[in-house]
C-alpha cells in the first residue's frame, strides 16, 4: 500500500512518514500544495494524507481538483482547523475522512487502515484467500494453524495480492503500490520478493499460490 503525505510542517511530516514506514507502507511526502497535487496526479496512491493549510495551494483546493480530474483514491484530511464548518468543507471537497491535529498515532493508523479497507473488496480487517489469512491489525499471516513470518515488504506485497485475489497484478501495480517513488523499476527486486514469498507460503509439492501470468504479471489463486 502506497501513501502520499502532503504536510508543510516538515517535522510532523517526517514523524508521519516514519510511523507509516514502520507499518510497512510505502510513503512519499510533499511539503507544499503544488508538489502534492503533482504527485497525486501522476502516481496511483492507495491513500493521500492531506493537510489543509499548505503553502501555494490549500488542501481543500487540491482535493476538489483531484476529484474533478477523476483521481479517486481515498483522501484523509489532516488539519488544525476543527470547527464544524471546516470539517464539512473538507468532506464536501471530496475528502473521505477528517482528522484534527493534534492526533494520536494509533488513531491515524486505524483511520488509514479503515480507508484502505474501504477501497478493497473486503470490509473485514482480516483478509482470507483459501486457507491463507492476513490480519491487517496484528500484521500476522496464518496458513491454517501455521504462522508465517514475513518481512515488512513481503507482508505489503502479500497484502496487496490478498486484497485483489484472482486478479492479474502487473509488476507496475506492485511497484506503484508497494514502493515509493525512489524505487528503481529497472531492478528485478520484485521477482526476488515474489520468489521469497512463494517459498514461505507454498506447501511443498503443490503448485504455487502465486501464479505467473506470462507477459502480464502474477495472480494469487484461490484454492
Amino acid at each position: 500500500m502506497r501513501i502520499l503525505v502532503v504536510e508543510d510542517e516538515r517535522r510532523l511530516c517526517n514523524i508521519i512518514k516514519r510511523g507509516l514506514l514502520e507499518e510497512g507502507y510505502a510513503v512519499d511526502t510533499a511539503y507544499d500544495g503544488e508538489d502534492g497535487e503533482y504527485l497525486a496526479e501522476t502516481n496511483p496512491y492507495d491513500l493521500i494524507i492531506l493537510d489543509i493549510m499548505l503553502p501555494k495551494k490549500d488542501g481543500i483546493e487540491i482535493c476538489g481538483e483531484l476529484r474533478l480530474k477523476r483521481v479517486n483514491m481515498p483522501v484523509l484530511m489532516l488539519t488544525a482547523k476543527d470547527t464544524v464548518e471546516d470539517r464539512v468543507k473538507g468532506l464536501d471537497a471530496g475528502a473521505d475522512d477528517y482528522l484534527v491535529k493534534p492526533f494520536a498515532f494509533n488513531e491515524l493508523l486505524a483511520r488509514v487502515r479503515a480507508l484502505l479497507r474501504r477501497e478493497g473488496l473486503s470490509k473485514s480487517p482480516r483478509l482470507q484467500v483459501g486457507d491463507l489469512v492476513l490480519d491487517t491489525l496484528t500484521r500476522e499471516v496464518w496458513q491454517g494453524q501455521r504462522k508465517i513470518e514475513l518481512t515488512s515488504k513481503e507482508y505489503v506485497i502479500l497484502e496487496y495480492f490478498m486484497r485483489h485475489p484472482n486478479m492479474v497484478i502487473t509488476r507496475t501495480m506492485l511497484e506503484e503500490h508497494a514502493w515509493d517513488y525512489e524505487f528503481d523499476s529497472m531492478s528485478n527486486l520484485i521477482d526476488v520478493y515474489i520468489r521469497r514469498l512463494r517459498r514461505k507460503i507454498d506447501e511443498r509439492g503443490q503448485t504455487s499460490l502465486i501464479q505467473t501470468v506470462r507477459g502480464a504479471g502474477y495472480r494469487l489463486r484461490e484454492v
Binding site: G19, E22, A80, K101, F105
Partner: protein, 464 residues
C-alpha cells in the same frame, strides 16, 4: 410613550405650536379690526342720524319744532331709536322702538350742557344698546337734545359668527396641518427607521452586510458613515479572527508534533537511543512552543495596554556591543561577518529589556536570513533629535510586495522556509510595537538577493 419621545412627534408638536400661535395672532388681529370697524360704523351712523334730525329742526320763537317742509325720514335701517327732548328735558317726540333707557338722565344732562357723548347701555332684557346724545344749539344756546340709539345685537351676532368661523378654521387647519406634518415627518424619517433596523439586524457574524444608501441628503450621509464604521468593524473582526486562527494553528502544530511523536514512540518497545531521539524532538517542540506562548502573551499584554515600561537612560552603544557578543556564536557558525560601527555614544529613555529584545530580534533575523559568508552590519548615529540604529544584512532580501505586511502578526514572506527556521512570524510585529511605545518607528529597505536594512528611529534622551 415611545411615540411621544420620537422626533417626528416632537417635530409635529413644534410645528403645530408655531402654526397655532400664528393663526391665533392672525385671527385676533382680524377679529379686533373688524369689531372696531363695526362699532365705529355704528357710531358713525348714530351721529349721522342725529345730524339728520338736527338739520330738520328749527327754532321758532324760542320753541323747537320740525321744519314745515320736513325732509326728515326716520330710517330704521340705521337708527332704531330716536328721541327729541326740549331744553327742560321733556320728551318732545320719539321715533322707532319704545324702550326704557336706564341712563337717560346722564345723557340728557350732558347733552343739555352742550356736550355730545356715546354710551353703551344695558337694557333689562340683557340686550345692549349704543346711545348717542347731542345738543341742538345755535348762537343763543342749547335748545334741545337729540338721543339716538341702536342695538348692538347685529354686530354681536356678526362677531360671534366670526368667532365661530375663526375657531373652527383654526382647529381644522391645525388638525390638517398636524396630520400633514406627521405624514411629512414620517416620510422624512422613514429612512432613519430603516437604518436603525438594518443596523440592529447586522450581527457580528454578518458584518459584510451594509445599509442601503438611497439618497445623498443628510440621512444618506449618515447611512454611508455607518457603513464605513461597519466596514472598519468588519476589518477589525476579520483581523481578530485571522489572528485567532493563526495563533491556534501555530500552537496546534507543535502539539501535533509532540502528540504524534510520543504516541508513535509508545506503540512498541524501542531502543534507548530511539527513546532519546523522541524525547529530544519533543523537548525541542516544547521549547518552541513556550517561546511562542511568551510572544503571544507579550502581544496580548501590549494589546490591552497593560505592559509597564521601566524607563531608564539606556546607552545604546553599550547595548549593541553586548548584543554583538551574544550573537557572535551564531555568526561564527554561519561564517557571517558582523561589522559594528560607527557607533556613537547615544542614550535613549527606554525600557532596557524591551529595547534589547527589539534589537536582538532584528539582529537574529539578519543573521537567519543571510547565507553563509555574508555580512551583517550595525550602525548607531544621531539624526537631529532622533537616534538611528540601522541593521543591514547581505541576505536574501524581501520581495517588494511583502514589505507592507512584514510587521503583521503571523505574516511570513516564505511560509515553508521560515517555519523550518523556527520563526512564527511574530518577531517583527513585536519589534514594531516596542519601537512604537518608545515613541519611535522602524523603516525597512530591501532588495531581493541584495539584502535588507532595518532602520530603528528612537527619540534621543533629552539630557544626553
Amino acid at each position: 410613550m415611545r411615540f411621544a419621545k420620537s422626533i417626528k412627534f416632537r417635530l409635529t408638536i413644534w410645528y403645530l405650536g408655531i402654526l397655532g400661535a400664528l393663526l391665533l395672532v392672525f385671527a385676533a388681529v382680524a377679529y379686533l379690526t373688524l369689531s372696531n370697524s363695526l362699532y365705529q360704523g355704528l357710531d358713525n351712523s348714530l351721529m349721522l342720524g342725529a345730524a339728520q334730525l338736527e338739520n330738520s329742526l328749527e327754532v321758532d320763537d324760542g320753541s323747537i319744532g320740525l321744519q314745515q317742509d320736513n325732509q326728515f325720514n326716520f330710517d330704521e335701517q340705521s337708527v332704531e331709536i330716536m328721541l327729541l327732548y326740549d331744553d327742560q328735558g321733556h320728551l318732545m317726540q320719539s321715533w322707532g322702538k319704545r324702550v326704557e333707557i336706564p341712563q337717560i338722565n346722564t345723557l340728557l344732562g350732558e347733552a343739555l350742557a352742550g356736550r355730545s357723548l356715546f354710551i353703551t347701555s344695558h337694557m333689562g332684557s340683557g340686550q345692549e344698546i349704543r346711545l348717542y346724545a347731542a345738543p341742538f344749539e345755535d348762537a343763543t344756546g342749547v335748545h334741545a337734545a337729540v338721543v339716538v340709539g341702536r342695538s348692538t345685537a347685529e354686530i354681536k351676532d356678526v362677531l360671534e359668527r366670526l368667532r365661530y368661523i375663526l375657531i373652527f378654521a383654526i382647529l381644522v387647519t391645525v388638525a390638517l396641518a398636524g396630520g400633514g406634518g406627521l405624514f411629512l415627518a414620517n416620510r422624512a424619517l422613514k429612512p432613519v427607521e430603516q437604518i436603525a433596523r438594518t443596523a440592529r439586524e447586522i450581527e457580528e457574524s454578518d458584518l459584510s452586510r451594509r445599509i442601503e444608501v438611497r439618497s445623498e441628503d443628510e440621512l444618506g450621509r449618515l447611512a454611508s458613515t455607518l457603513n464605513q464604521m461597519i466596514g472598519r468593524l468588519e476589518r477589525a473582526f476579520g483581523r481578530q479572527r485571522q489572528f485567532t486562527a493563526d495563533a491556534s494553528h501555530e500552537l496546534r502544530t507543535p502539539l501535533a508534533v509532540i502528540q504524534a511523536e510520543s504516541t508513535l514512540s509508545l506503540r512498541k518497545e524501542r531502543t534507548e537511543n530511539d527513546y532519546r531521539k523522541s524525547l529530544k524532538l519533543i523537548s525541542r517542540e516544547v521549547a518552541h512552543m513556550s517561546t511562542l506562548v511568551d510572544k503571544l502573551l507579550f502581544l496580548a499584554r501590549s494589546d490591552i495596554g497593560k505592559e509597564q515600561l521601566n524607563l531608564e537612560a539606556v546607552n545604546l552603544k553599550e547595548l549593541i556591543a553586548d548584543l554583538a557578543l551574544e550573537i557572535d556564536p551564531l555568526c561564527q557558525e554561519k561564517r557571517i561577518e558582523c561589522k559594528l560601527g560607527p557607533l556613537e555614544n547615544l542614550v535613549v529613555n527606554g525600557d532596557k529589556v524591551e529595547l534589547k529584545q527589539l534589537l536582538l530580534n532584528l539582529l537574529d533575523n539578519a543573521v537567519r536570513y543571510t547565507p553563509k559568508g555574508g555580512t551583517v552590519s550595525v550602525v548607531l548615529v544621531r539624526k537631529g533629535e532622533t537616534v538611528l540604529v540601522a541593521i543591514k544584512d547581505s541576505g536574501i532580501g524581501i520581495p517588494e510586495e511583502h514589505i507592507p505586511h512584514i510587521f503583521e502578526r503571523f505574516y511570513r514572506v516564505d511560509k515553508a522556509r521560515s517555519r523550518t527556521e523556527g520563526g512564527a512570524g511574530l518577531g517583527l510585529s513585536i519589534c514594531q510595537h516596542i519601537a512604537k511605545v518608545h515613541g519611535g518607528r522602524i523603516e525597512v529597505e530591501s532588495q531581493v538577493g541584495q539584502g535588507s536594512t532595518f532602520s530603528v528611529f528612537l527619540p534621543l534622551f533629552a539630557k544626553s
